[in-house]
Amino acid sequence: MSENVNMTVRWMSRREFLRAMSVVAAGTALAGTIGACGTPAAPKGTGQLDFLGWEGYDMLSATEQWRKDNNIDLKSAYIGNSEDTPAKVLSPAGEGIDLITYFYAYYKSWGDLGVFNTFTADEVPNLKRMYPYFQEGEYWRLPDKTYQGAPFTWLTYVCNYRADMIEPPQSWAELTDAKYKGKLAIVEDPGANILVAATVLGIPTDTMTHAQLEEVKKFLLALKANAKTIAPSYGDLSNLLISGEVAADFVGWAALDVWGAQQGVNVTSTLPTDGVVISIDAYAMASTVDNRDASLAWMNLMLTDEVQLSVANDLLTATVCPDTAKLITDPNVKKLYDYDNFNAFIEKYPLHLFPPNEATGDQVTFGDWMKAWEEVKAA
């Protein structure tokens, strides 16, 4: 998105030059004063903004006025799964992609692949509105204190179940019990499935060995033996629960409760404590960015109360800003996440990482995970 800048040369008189310089000096002094107060101005941008990410994360409704006011032409392209992003950004077709979204666990592998373009905290002042955990996490902030991503929402993988069909499952492991035969759906999200399965089994995810991956496979095969189907998406998972085809899922999302309620069906969720896995998504500038100003302005906008409330109310995922959490009024939305005890929660359940792309010793790779998932499906 190159912008055409029309420059016209205009010569100045000495008096005009001095007057202009005084204005610049005053402006500089004022900017210095503002800077010293620690409140950098909100970034502004205009022009075409190329977005690549999950459908819904382009916040069409929440950003409508902002786009009009700033003459932003948002061009959205949606991904089917996370790995679509590096595939597109790193291909010749990726030229001009400005904004992407990423799941925290990809921070290192995508960073190593050169997917991101970094920015400073001053360029996105609203980063300061987030819980300190999000401001300081290595998944978004690099050792030199620059950022490669601006987290904007989080959720926990839950087990959705039909309260009118079964009792609430007490653990993920319980879903391998024969009483769930034909009542379970697994979602086609191999990364999340293996993260949760490994956590249930107490296996470290980023240093997993081949023998441990075999244990994870056995657990997933036991789940598959009870599963009626493997749902290709969370939307399809919701359909299966609402239609009563299945009574529980591995793994689910709290939003499915709300979608069920909208259809008059009692879909409820429980958080099995034998495998709590948290998902955090962030916006980032792609290495192919060519509208940096608008991208920074977007990330800043995403951390305002207005948009964060939209995240909570419309996407049904959690806000990253404590002040926004206080503004949530809908009790059904508020009860989805325990904002009041966020720090204790995140401390109790640390984030899990994917294995590296290239292995050392007996360690498995991310490719081994995907192969294991293919084997589970083919079995």
Partner: protein
């Protein structure tokens, strides 16, 4: 000489188009399949490792077997049922021939995914079929095997692809001279013998074309099996997607693509020989 040059000139744009749209991408894939994979990149040295993995990994073999099985059953059922429909339209329908053809074409217009989801509504636990069986007192509990099984996949795919085989065969049946059939009958052949020895061989090419078309589309399909195939719905097409997108292993993805092409070509060659052996395809066809 001048006419030959003019012919080449006329063919040149189309040749260039085919080269750009077909030969170039397939050629690129072929080169990729022999290169050493990196993540979202390929490089030297040349290797056969990608083909070794594609052809000898048991997981890919299982998925290929599932794909070929679903493709063959769907293609065979679609061809037989499409033939019956086409035969009725061509020989029996009389004044309603155009109406039968119009209905066949209209059925193609319904969206692919819409029809898959429609089958979910029909075959589901609380679907139309189970509700009807329950209301008639034929079942006390919903039949769970109707949906999320290989048979559900075949049923939905047959429903989608029957029009394609029916229309292909119909065009061939319309070209079968009625006098030829009458000559066979005059020479003492019964209706079945006249069909088997005259009509079927004369429409053999269309039968094979319809079969080929349906087999290629269904064996490579991985959307329908995912939506209604249950836990047995995994097909080979999805691993190509996984290698290209999820893992960025372009070299193995390309080798798997050629693995699919080679196995599918072998299956079709065997089918062609079988149709020849059964007299459906004549020598020289």
């Amino acid at each position: 000489m001048r006419r030959t040059a003019a012919g080449y000139l006329l063919a040149a744009p189309l040749t260039l188009l085919v080269a750009a749209l077909l030969v170039l991408p397939i050629g690129t894939f072929l080169v990729y399949s022999f290169l050493t994979p990196g993540q979202y990149r390929v490089g030297l040295p040349l290797t056969l490792e990608n083909y070794r993995l594609a052809f000898f990994d048991p997981t890919y073999a299982k998925l290929m077997l599932n794909s070929v099985r679903i493709g063959l059953v769907t293609a065979a059922v679609s061809t037989v049922m499409g033939y019956i429909l086409a035969y009725y339209a061509s020989f029996q329908a009389g004044k309603v021939k155009m109406a039968v053809l119009a209905l066949t074409v209209i059925s193609i217009l319904g969206g692919y995914l819409v029809r898959i989801y429609a089958w979910r509504i029909v075959l589901g636990t609380e679907g139309v079929l189970n509700s009807a069986l329950g209301a008639l007192g034929l079942t006390s509990n919903p039949l769970q095997f109707l949906l999320f099984s290989r048979s559900a996949v075949v049923l939905a795919l047959v429903n989608i692809y029957i029009p394609f085989t029916a229309l292909t065969v119909f065009a061939a049946l319309e070209n079968v001279g009625r006098d030829v059939i009458e000559a066979a009958r005059d020479l003492g052949a019964g209706p079945l013998r006249a069909f088997a020895r005259v009509v079927l061989p004369l429409t053999g090419r269309a039968v094979f074309t319809g079969f080929l078309f349906v087999f290629l589309l269904t064996a490579a399909d991985y959307v329908t099996p995912q939506l209604i195939g249950g836990t047995s719905g995994a097909m080979i097409g999805v691993v190509v997607y996984d290698q290209f997108v999820r893992l960025g292993n372009w070299a193995l993805g390309a080798a798997l693509s050629f693995y699919i092409v080679i196995v599918f070509a072998a299956v079709l060659a065997t089918s062609w020989l079988a149709l020849r052996a059964f007299g459906v395809l004549r020598r020289g066809a």
